[in-house]
C-alpha cells in the first residue's frame, strides 16, 4: 500500500511484516524495516516506540482512501493508495466533480451577517457571496468559480456549520 502524507508530497510504501512477540511488531516502510514496540492500542488510539522515540497516535477520521490522524498532537491527513482505491477514487472524484463543482460550501462555522449575491446574478470567481461572523471576525465566503447563482441556501441571521452549502453556482 502507498501512503501520501497530506501537504508534503511525501509518499511511502508500507506494509506490516509480522508480529515478533513481546509486543514487538515488524513493519517495512520504503524498503526499510522498523521494529515497533506497541505500548497501548485500541481501535483509534496507539502508543508505540519506533526508532527509539515515543509516539502517540490518534485516528481522528478514517475512510477507505484517507485517514486523518494525529501524531504526538500534530494532525495529518494520509491518503492511502492501492490499485483498487485509485480506481475507486478516480470514479468518485469524477462524480464529486460534477456535483461538487457547482456547490459552494462554507469552510468555517458562523452566523450569516450579510448576503451579497442574489439568485440569478452573474458572479466571478472570488466575488463575495455571503459574509459570516465568527469570533468577532467577519469572513467572506467567495465564489469558487465564474457562473450564475442558481440557488442561495442561506439567509441573513442563519447559522452555518463547516461544509454547509452556501450556494449553487453554475
Amino acid at each position: 500500500m502507498d501512503f501520501e502524507l497530506g501537504g508534503t508530497k511525501e509518499i511511502a510504501n508500507g506494509e506490516l511484516v509480522r508480529s515478533i512477540g513481546g509486543g514487538l511488531i515488524l513493519v517495512r516502510i520504503n524498503d526499510k524495516e522498523y521494529q515497533i514496540k506497541l505500548l497501548k492500542s485500541g481501535s483509534d488510539y496507539f502508543e508505540f516506540i519506533l526508532d527509539d522515540s515515543f509516539y502517540t497516535a490518534k485516528i481522528i477520521q478514517s475512510g477507505s482512501s484517507e485517514v486523518r490522524l494525529s501524531i504526538n498532537g500534530r494532525t495529518h491527513t494520509v491518503k492511502q493508495h492501492s490499485k483498487l482505491t485509485e480506481i475507486l477514487e478516480k470514479s468518485l472524484s469524477l462524480t464529486a466533480k460534477i456535483g461538487g463543482e457547482k456547490i459552494l460550501v462554507s469552510q468555517i462555522p458562523g452566523r450569516v451577517v450579510n448576503v451579497l449575491a442574489a439568485v440569478r446574478a452573474e458572479v466571478k470567481k472570488g466575488d463575495s457571496i455571503v459574509v459570516l461572523e465568527s469570533m468577532k471576525m467577519q469572513v467572506a465566503v467567495k465564489a469558487h468559480r465564474d457562473g450564475i447563482v442558481k440557488e442561495l441556501r442561506v439567509k441573513k441571521g442563519a447559522t452555518v456549520s463547516r461544509n454547509d452549502i452556501i450556494a449553487v453556482i453554475e
Binding site: F3, L5, G6, G7, T8, E10, A12, G14, E15, L16, I25, V27, I29, Y34, I36, L38, S41, G42, S43, D44, F46, F48, L50, D51, S53, Y55, A57, K58, I59, S62, V67, L69, S70, I71, N72, G73, R74, H76, V78, Q80, Q107, I108, P109, G110, R111, S134, M135, K136, M137, V139
Partner: protein, 501 residues
C-alpha cells in the same frame, strides 16, 4: 470608596475571568461569575465561588447586557465589579452605573474614560500636558492650504485620514505637496458624499514603526507609576500576536524618559487604576503617544513576570482606596518575558475562526512557564466570543532564555479538535529577525513569516511520515484482528451520551 471588598463580580468570561477569580482567591474575596447559555461548563463558572446565569449566547444579551449585570450584582450583593478586557471594560457608562448602585467599579472614572475614548479630546488634553504626538494636524483641518502647511511642517510623506474612517479605511498616502493636493480633493469629496462634511486630518507617515506601550497604575490619591514597557510590534491586522518586556530597543535612559511621559499622560486625564499608554516608535527612535487604553490589557502578564507585581490584585487594592505600595524607584525589571496569544484560528487558512469541542489538550508547564487559558480537556470553544483561547507566557533571565522556553513550551502545547495559531508562533520563535529583535508592525509581511510557517509545517510534517504510516498499519492490523471497530465506535457514541440543561 475606602471599603474593603468582600465579594467581586467578574463581568467577563474566558481566561481573563479565571485570572480575576484567582486573584480573588488570593485575597480571600468571594468571586462571582456570570455565564451565558454558551458558557455553562466554562472554566470560570467552575472555579468561581458563585456563578449566575446571564442570558443567551449573543454578547448583547449576555456579557454586554449592562442592566442585567448590574441587576445581578445588586441582587447578590457584590461589593465590586471587575470588567476584564473587551465587553464592557471601556464602556464609559459602566463606572457610573456601578457607583449609583453602590458597587465599586474596578477601573477608571467616567470622565477619564470619556477623554481616553475620544481621539480628539484626548489629543487636546495631552498636548496641554506636553505629550509628543505623531506630527500632523491637531484635529480636523479647515482646508487644503492648512493641510499643505501642516504637511510641510511634519515632513513628507504624510497620511490623509478621514475622521469617519477606521480600520485602515479612508486613509490616503501623499509623498509630496502635489500629490497631497490631488488626494485632498478626492478625499474631501468622498468624505462629503458619505458624511456631509470633509472631516480630514493630516498625519506624518512612518515606516518600520514599533508599537511600544507602558503599563500604568494610578491610585485615588493621585500617585502614578509606570511598570515599564511592553513591545507589541508583532501584529496581524492591528491585532497583537506576540508581546514582550523589555523591548529589545530601549535603553534605561529612554525607558525612564518615556515612562515619565506615560505617567504624565495618566495624570493629565486624572486616570485611576491600571491602564496602558500606547506609543509608536519610529526608526530614528522617536516616540509618539497614540492613546491610553483604559483597562487591563490582554498582555498584562508580561509585565507581571518581569516586575513581580500582581496587577489584578493591585487593581483591586487601588479600587479599595489603598495607595500604591511602591515608589517608582522601587521597581525593577528582572529578566525577560514573552507572551504568545494563542487564538482558535487556522493560520494555514487565512486565520479563519475554528470552533468546537476540545476533547483533549496538553497545557505546558515547567520552569518559567505560565499559561493563562480557559482550555481544559472536554471544554468547548464558542464562535460567539473572541478567538483568544490561551496566552503562553515564558519568563527567562534574558530574551534568549524566554525565547527558548517559549519554543519548548509550544512543542508541549497541544490542543485537539480545533485549529490554533501555535504553528505561527513556532515559526516566529525560530525566525532570525525575531531573534535579532528586528521588529516592526509589518513584521509578518516584511519577512514573509506566513510563507515560512507553511514551509516549516511541511518540514515538520515530513518527520511524521514514518510514524503516521506505522500507526495506520497498526490500526489495520488491529481492526483485522479484533473485528472490534464498528462495535467500539457505536459504544463510544453511547458512553459519550449526555444531556445538556
Amino acid at each position: 470608596m475606602a471599603k474593603k471588598i468582600q465579594s467581586l463580580l467578574v463581568a467577563n468570561r474566558g481566561e481573563i475571568a479565571l485570572r480575576v477569580i484567582r486573584a480573588c482567591g488570593e485575597l480571600g474575596i468571594k468571586s462571582i461569575a456570570l455565564y451565558s447559555d454558551e458558557d455553562t461548563r466554562s472554566i470560570h463558572v467552575k472555579r468561581a465561588d458563585k456563578a449566575y446565569y446571564l442570558g443567551p449566547p449573543s454578547p448583547s444579551e449576555s456579557y454586554l447586557n449592562i442592566d442585567k449585570i448590574i441587576e445581578i450584582a445588586t441582587r447578590v450583593g457584590a461589593d465590586a465589579i471587575h470588567p476584564g478586557y473587551g465587553f464592557l471594560s471601556e464602556n464609559e457608562n459602566f463606572p457610573e452605573l456601578c457607583s449609583k448602585n453602590g458597587i465599586i467599579f474596578i477601573g477608571p472614572k467616567k470622565k477619564a474614560m470619556e477623554i481616553t475614548g475620544d481621539k480628539m479630546k484626548c489629543k487636546a488634553v495631552m498636548k496641554k500636558a506636553d505629550i509628543p504626538f505623531v506630527p500632523g494636524s491637531d484635529g480636523i483641518v479647515n482646508d487644503m492650504e492648512e493641510a499643505v502647511d501642516i504637511a510641510a511642517a511634519a515632513g513628507y510623506p504624510v497620511l490623509l485620514k478621514s475622521a469617519f474612517g477606521g480600520g485602515g479605511r479612508g486613509i490616503r498616502l501623499a509623498n509630496d505637496e502635489k500629490q497631497l493636493r490631488q488626494e485632498f480633493e478626492m478625499a474631501a469629496a468622498e468624505s462629503k458624499a458619505a458624511f456631509g462634511k470633509a472631516a480630514l486630518y493630516v498625519e506624518k507617515y512612518m515606516q518600520r514603526i514599533r508599537h511600544i506601550e507602558y503599563q500604568l497604575v494610578r491610585d485615588s490619591h493621585g500617585q502614578g507609576r509606570h511598570l515599564f514597557e511592553r513591545e507589541c510590534s508583532i501584529q496581524r491586522r492591528h491585532q497583537k500576536l506576540v508581546e514582550m518586556s523589555p523591548s529589545p530597543v530601549l535603553d534605561q535612559e529612554t525607558r525612564n524618559r518615556i515612562g515619565e511621559i506615560a505617567v504624565r499622560a495618566a495624570e493629565a486625564v486624572d486616570y485611576l487604576n491600571a491602564g496602558t499608554a500606547e506609543f509608536l516608535r519610529d526608526e530614528q527612535g522617536n516616540f509618539y503617544f497614540i492613546e491610553i487604553n483604559s483597562r487591563l490589557q490582554v498582555e498584562h502578564p508580561v509585565t507581571e513576570l518581569v516586575t513581580g507585581i500582581d496587577l489584578v490584585k493591585l487593581q483591586i487594592s487601588i479600587a479599595q482606596g489603598e495607595t500604591i505600595p511602591f515608589k517608582q524607584d522601587d521597581l525593577g525589571l528582572r529578566g525577560c518575558a514573552i507572551e504568545c496569544r494563542i487564538n482558535a484560528e487556522d493560520p494555514f487558512f487565512g486565520f479563519t475562526p475554528s470552533v468546537g469541542t476540545v476533547p483533549s489538550c496538553n497545557i505546558p508547564y515547567g520552569p518559567g512557564i505560565r499559561v493563562d487559558t480557559y482550555l481544559y480537556p472536554g471544554c468547548s470553544v464558542s464562535g460567539y466570543y473572541d478567538s483568544l483561547v490561551a496566552k503562553l507566557i515564558a519568563w527567562g533571565k534574558d530574551f534568549e532564555e524566554s525565547r527558548v522556553r517559549t519554543k519548548n513550551a509550544l512543542k508541549e502545547f497541544t490542543v485537539e479538535g480545533i485549529n490554533t495559531t501555535i504553528p505561527l508562533f513556532k515559526t516566529i520563535m525560530d525566525e532570525d529577525n525575531f531573534i535579532k529583535g528586528e521588529l516592526s508592525t509589518d513584521y509578518l509581511e516584511r519577512f514573509s513569516i506566513l510563507d515560512r510557517m507553511n514551509r516549516d509545517a511541511v518540514e515538520s510534517s515530513k518527520q511524521d511520515l514514518i510514524p503516521a504510516v506505522s500507526a495506520i498499519l497498526l490500526r489495520s492490523e488491529f481492526v483485522k484482528k479484533n473485528h472490534l471497530y464498528q462495535q467500539s465506535t457505536s459504544s463510544k457514541q453511547r458512553t459519550g451520551w449526555q444531556s445538556k440543561g
